[in-house]
Structure formats: structure tokens, C-alpha cells
Symmetry: C2
Subunit: 466 residues, 2 copies
């Protein structure tokens, strides 16, 4: 949708000021640099105006006005995305949810939590765990907002056992670009009442509606969690073990893979040693449940599968301390890789679980083929890999060229293996060409048709997803 958007003028600003007080409204040079980019910083542009909204009614007034005046609107949470989805690539009005951060209701009879979109993921975990309840989605970036998590259908480590954000959203309040406020779903457990607008909104990266409230599904908090750190002689052997684990029918909560050079980055970054240095490659598995004997039964079987598949050893971490030393390293991977280079971009592909080994092996081939450093880690248990192509010593020009070469090869291979462009970080602006290349015009026209049904003028987060 390449159309002429209206440039925000004084009259527009006066309208915004009639809705939002000056303390929550920022124009031009008042806008903090953070609002011009997201975490990968590959896509840059300042919005013309930033407001911090407090409620759906404010957002409704702003959207209605912008819809009538052809002004782009960009929803924004913490800006922790990696694909430019929250960057104002056409300028316009950015609406931050950062001050819409109230916990509205914890309903213990229905096991639901109702929150505003600006509540942070780490706040949710803490809040519900204090009540012996559990919000399973566990993306690495704990300072992301729940609104952002819902918008990208964020996944995280525990997807192997529990599923992704979509599976834990029961209801939404959404402001449409027309300014209408709609309620979607609710506290109900089942729903077969028309097309699932809820599931469409989840993962739509702020392009179909502005999420102003979410009803989340909770589970009872598992009482026991155990991690296994399993060293393997080679990375190939480590990831080739994953389909064997799935096939064994003893399913862990999470299965991550990691290699020594990434662990080394994390050690340098954190200034702390990883608990083991015996090997070049590891699987890190977690298991949870309500009783230790039940969890033991499962992890012992999985440990056997790993040893039969060539694991060097199996280290059991059943103390809080040991687990934290491993998981803090795992949690620092993204930042550690970032700190190890001058710039980077990421490929968040997902492939069927039995194709992970092939894909990881291919990243090594691409590394030599394109002659660029590639670091990867990720969710081997659900086939979602984070592959980082690193700039290091290259000039901007050379890096841009090499990045394109590497990405073209990686996305092509993922598609051949039955995979998709993004497992959990979304399409945003940066990955759109790869989505188009993989899905083709018929499929993309469906996405455009859906976009048109929600936002006929194409003003809500324009240039993203389709």
C-alpha cells in the first residue's frame, strides 16, 4: 500500500493535545532516540509525534481522527522487537502503551488474568507465581510488554510442552482504526462463534487493531523443575538427538541447543564461567511437574536417549543455584553475541523438529560460502532457531551484500525443509520480502484482504506484515 500519507501539521497536533496532556505528548526533537528504532536497529525513522496513552478511549479518539485524516498510527510497547514492526517507517503518530500497565483482575475461579497491554512479561510471571499460578509463555526478552508478545505471538523456551502466546490469550479488547472498540473472546474456554478474530489479532503485529486489554489463561504453577545439561561431541549429534527425544514420547518442557563459541561470548559478556567446559555443543533440557518422582521418571528416560545418542555426560541441575548459572548464560546469548560484533541481523526461522540438524549444518556451510561469521542458538525442541549474521570487520556496503546473500540462502533452505520465515519474532518490515518470496501472491493477497477488512485505508502500522 504505497499511498500518500498526510504529514502531521499544527492542526493535527492541536487535536492530539485536546486528547492527551502535554506531559504525555512528544513532538519532533522532544522524541527520544529509542522511538526511532527497535532492538536490532536495522530500520530507523522517527515518528512525528509520540503519545503515551492511558486508556482505550484516548486511543479510540486518536485512531478515529487519524483514520479521517490519513495519518499513520504506530502502536508501540517496549520496542524490544527485532524486525522493525514498531518503527514508524512512514512517520506519523506513535502511541506508546508503556503507561497502560495495570493488572486489572486475577480470576482464580476461571484461572484468568486480565491486564493492560503495557504490563511487562517479567511482571506477569512474578505476579501470578506469587499466587501459585503460572503463565507459561517464556520468551527470552522479559522486559517486553504483553501487548508486544501478543502482537508477535511470542514463543519462548517452554513452547515444547506448553505452546506459545496464542495458546494463552483468551480474550482481547481492541480499538479498530475506525475508533470502534471491540471485545473479542473473553473468559470462555471454548469458542466456535464465527471466525476467530482473536487468533487473527494475535500475531498481527499491530496492523489490524490496537490491543488495549488482554485476558490471559493461567495454569497451576508446577511444583518441581529440573534442568539437564547434556554435552555432546559435536553440534550435529546434539541436534540430531532432538527428534529421538520426541519419538521417545517423553516430552521435556524445553529443549535448547547451544555451542561453545556462543557460550564463550556469554562468559565474556557476563564475566562468569559456564558450569561445564568439556564440550563443543550442549543440549539444555528442562522438565517440570507436580512431584519429583514424576519428573524424574521422565528425565531419566530422556537422559538415556541422550546417552544412547552419543552424549558425553548428563548433568542434573535440581538446585535453584545450578539452574540459574546455566539459564543466566542462556538468557544472555542475544546480548552477548551482539556485544561480540559491530552489527548483526537475525534469521528467526522455524523448521520441523527433525530438520533442525540439517538446517544447523547448513548454517555452517553458509558461513564459509558467504565468508561471514554466523552464530546460532535456539529452541531445538520446537524447531525455532535464532541465526545471527555478524558484521564484524566488514564495511557497511560489504556487510549489506553478504547479509543479503546469507539470508537468501538460509530462508530458501528453511522453506525447502518445510519451515517458515519466523517462529516467534514476526515479519514486521525487515522480513517482508522473505515472506512474499515464500508464500507467493495468492497467499499474500489473502493477508492483504484481511488487512483491508480491518483497516481499509492502510493507516495502522503501515508497511508491515503485508
Amino acid at each position: 500500500m504505497n499511498r500518500a500519507y498526510k504529514k502531521i501539521d499544527q492542526e493535527d497536533i492541536e487535536f492530539f493535545q485536546s486528547v492527551i496532556p502535554k506531559s504525555r505528548l512528544f513532538i519532533g526533537e522532544e522524541i527520544h532516540e529509542d522511538y526511532s528504532k527497535d532492538e536490532l536497529a536495522g530500520v530507523h525513522r522517527y515518528p512525528d509525534v509520540v503519545v503515551e496513552a492511558l486508556c482505550a478511549e484516548e486511543i479510540s479518539k486518536l485512531l478515529k481522527y487519524c483514520n479521517e485524516h490519513d495519518i499513520p498510527v504506530i502502536p508501540r510497547g517496549q520496542g524490544t522487537g527485532l524486525v522493525g514492526a514498531s518503527v514508524a517507517i512512514h512517520g506519523g503518530l506513535m502511541i506508546s502503551t508503556i503507561k497502560m500497565n495495570r493488572f486489572i483482575e486475577l480470576d482464580k475461579e476461571n484461572l484468568t488474568l486480565t491486564v493492560e497491554p503495557g504490563v511487562l512479561l517479567m511482571e506477569i510471571s512474578k505476579y501470578v507465581e506469587d499466587e501459585d499460578l503460572f503463565y507459561p509463555p517464556d520468551p527470552g526478552e522479559k522486559s517486553a510488554t504483553i501487548g508486544g508478545n501478543i502482537s508477535t505471538n511470542a514463543g519462548g523456551m517452554r513452547a515444547v510442552k506448553y505452546g506459545v502466546t496464542r495458546d494463552f490469550v483468551r480474550g482481547l479488547e481492541v480499538v479498530l482504526m475506525s475508533g470502534e472498540i471491540i471485545q473479542i473472546g473473553g473468559k470462555v474456554v471454548k469458542n466456535a462463534s464465527g471466525y476467530s478474530i482473536k487468533d487473527l489479532m494475535v500475531g498481527s503485529e499491530g496492523t489490524l487493531g490496537f490491543i488495549t486489554k488482554a485476558i490471559l489463561k493461567l495454569l497451576p504453577l508446577p511444583k518441581v523443575a529440573v534442568s539437564l545439561l547434556v554435552p555432546f561431541p559435536t553440534l550435529e549429534q546434539a541436534v540430531e538427538t532432538v527428534p529421538l527425544i520426541i519419538k521417545s514420547k517423553f516430552i521435556p518442557t524445553a529443549i535448547e541447543y547451544m555451542e561453545r563459541r556462543v557460550i564463550k561470548n556469554a562468559e565474556d559478556f557476563l564475566g562468569k564461567k559456564f558450569p561445564d567446559a568439556s564440550s563443543d555443543a550442549y543440549l539444555l533440557l528442562t522438565f517440570d511437574g507436580n512431584a519429583l518422582d514424576e519428573v524424574e521418571r521422565i528425565y531419566e528416560k530422556v537422559a538415556d536417549v541422550c546417552l544412547e545418542a552419543g552424549a558425553i555426560d548428563v548433568f542434573i541441575s535440581d538446585t535453584q543455584e545450578r539452574q540459574e548459572s546455566i539459564w543466566s548464560a542462556r538468557g544472555a546469548f542475544l546480548e552477548a553475541i551482539k556485544a561480540s560484533t559491530t552489527a548483526m541481523d537475525e534469521c528467526d526461522v522455524v523448521v520441523p523438529r527433525n530438520q533442525v540438524a540439517k538446517f544447523v549444518k547448513y548454517t555452517k556451510e553458509v558461513e564459509s560460502l558467504v565468508d561471514i561469521r554466523i552464530a546460532s542458538f535456539g529452541h531445538a525442541g520446537d524447531g525455532n532457531l535464532h541465526v545471527y549474521v555478524l558484521k564484524d570487520q566488514y564495511s557497511d556496503e560489504v556487510y549489506t551484500q553478504k547479509l543479503k546473500e546469507a539470508f537468501d540462502l538460509l530462508y530458501k533452505r528453511a522453506a525447502e525443509l518445510g519451515g517458515h520465515v519466523s517462529g516467534e519474532h514476526g515479519i514486521g518490515y525487515a522480513k517482508l520480502p522473505y515472506l512474499v518470496a515464500q508464500q507467493g501472491p495468492v497467499y499474500m493477497n489473502l493477508l492483504k484482504g484481511i488487512k483491508f477488512a480491518f483497516d481499509p485505508k492502510g493507516l495502522l502500522n503501515p508497511g508491515k506484515v503485508c
Copy 2:
């Protein structure tokens, strides 16, 4: 979309015959009466032509032709629906999937099963259980096709623990009304690659595309299952116990409620006694897991909750035989109620779990208010109730009037309690007025916009959902 559809003529039939051999093509009087209705038989009309398709390519040719010639197309599985979704209310071409019933692939490394849409639910259970695997969705009607289950996002008893059909569909092959064949999702566990067309297709009741293949997610088969039959002095006490169970954080696999008069219908219908006759109301709970001690730990806690809430007793059924005698009665409820009256219609509302008691109580009020017999049973554990309004001795005219009165009251009350029109049976044709009444024009326009994106001429299963 009230438009003039083209009436099928000789030329059209000749085209259909060029795609489908005579042995699988039925015209006018050759069409079996079954194809004029579904299981509730409230909506009647014969299609003009019925074909039994064998593959996506045949369906693609037929849809493309019908799209170009303004002929309505009605996808049809086993016709076990209850809302007229598979009835040709505008005539046209009905395409049955009954012969597309092949198991394509069981992938043990990815725990997926790929099937054609005409495979029956009971065939899937058997097929995967023989391999020690598990397809959890468990709707009452085991002779439904998986294509139909996906189209209504069928739920069933085990939704409390495992979720509904949507949660177990990973990928679909779909023929669009234009004749294009698209692949959606796949064997991947996560996906954040554009709007979730997969989740839109699930529950769209054959109005957005024709499902020709499905990739289902499987789980390891739980090794132990135990049922508890819990008599309560009153139905109110039984259903009021459900939110207490949820709140206890010991979550069963299924929680059903039933009352004596419905059990009596089932006893008469089956010619077999129910294992207990001590009470007017029961909760029936199941628990599953991989070890008896683990399952015991949970059901003992839940039994305590029930007894504290006033249960008369707790009968544990851990033998196959005892469980079958209870579940065969439960399985016969729909047919038994049907056999006890002259005609009936159903209200498949879903409400938050802590509102079930209020709603069930209200059905009793409606029963006296409207002076018509109402029988109900259902999934107390997920808030999805099946409420049957029975014709008995009333004339067609009086019944129609009373049914409308009762439905108006019931759907209004469900909405007030935060509920929705359908938990698992869908909207189809029969429940459309209630969806419109509850959701209002803004929401319904989104559904229409989505429909337009997939089927701009409104020819695929017209008159359903929106």
C-alpha cells in the same frame, strides 16, 4: 449476501461430469435424503448436484468453474452438524469428502499425523492409539469427519486439560473458491509468519476454503485414566463445585455434569442401568497421566473438594468395564434425549466456568417461564453447555414460537454472563441471528470483510456464519 445464484443447468452438469465420473456424481432424485439436512434436521434443502471428490485437484477444478459461473458450493463431511452448516440452503453443488479418507503419513519424529478430510474421528483415535499416540480432541460424535471437526473447531470432553481441535491442527491444505490450492502452516511447532490463516480456517465452517488435507499434532498416549462419578444432592451443588475444583489447581482431563432425568433417558434408550441411582445430579470427572500414583494424587484432592462441597459420595472407576458403563451412558445422551421427544433444537452456549451454575439454574426458570421441557448436559469443566428445547406434544406452530422465546432468553442470559453463542457446534445457518444480536454490526462487518478476502463472490457455503 443475498444475491442471485445461477441455477445449475445441463451445461454445468456436463462440466461436472468431465471432472467426476458418473459413479461419484448424483443429480436431482438420485440424491439421498441425508444430503438435504444435518443431524438436527431443522434446516432442509436438497443440493442440485452431489459429487464425491477424491482429491484436491478435482475440487480445484469444480470450485474454479463454480466461481466463474456463480454456482454455490457446499462442502460436506458426514453431515453430523447441528446448525445447518452443511445444508445447501441456496441449492448448488455439494462436494462430499466421504471418499477422501486416507491416512497420508504418521510422522513419529515430529509427532504429526497427516490425513485427508474424510477420515472419521473414531478412525483417527484408533489409528494413533495403536501406535501409543494420542489425538486428544474428543467430541461426542465419533463418526464425524476430521474435516468437519476442523471446520467447527470441535471441542469435546477433554478440552479442560488439552484444549480443542484448533490446538491440534498444525497445517492445512485448502482449495480457495478461485480454485487455487494453498498450503497453510505445516509440521512446524511455532509460527509467526503473517496473520494466522490456519486459525482463521479452523472454525470457518466451510465458508473460507475447502480443506483437503490436515496435519494434526499428536501427543504421547497417557498410560492411565481414571474416572470419578460424584453424586450431589442437587444439580446446583454439582455445578457450583466446578469453579472450586479449578481454584484448587488440580485440573481434571474432563468434567461433565448430568442430571437424573437425562440419565433416565439414556437408560431407556440403551436398555442398561446407570451404575448409580442414588442422586438427582452427578459430576463425571476423568483424570489421565503416565503413572497411577501421579493420577491418584490429583483425583484424591479433587474428591476432597467435591466432598467438602457437599457431594454424597465419590465412586472411583479405574477398570475399563466400570468406565465404559458410565461413558456409554454419557455418550448416548444426545440420541437418548432425541428419542424421548418429537423434535428438538439445541443451544450450545459457552460461559465462563464460574457462571455455569447460574446458567443451568436459569434454564430451569426458562423451562417454567416458557412452559416447555428443557434437558441439558455438558462440559461443566469448560463452561460449554448443551441445552435442548424439546417439542414433545406441541404443534409445529406453538413449538416454533416457544423455541424462539426460550432461545432468545437463553442466548441473552449467556451474553450477560460473559458467554458466547457457540462453544463447539458452530454458527452455521441456524444460530446466525443470535451471533448478529450478540456481536453487533462492527464485529459482523469484520467477519464479512474476511469472507470477502477469501470468497469475494460469496459462493462458498453461502448464508453461513456471516
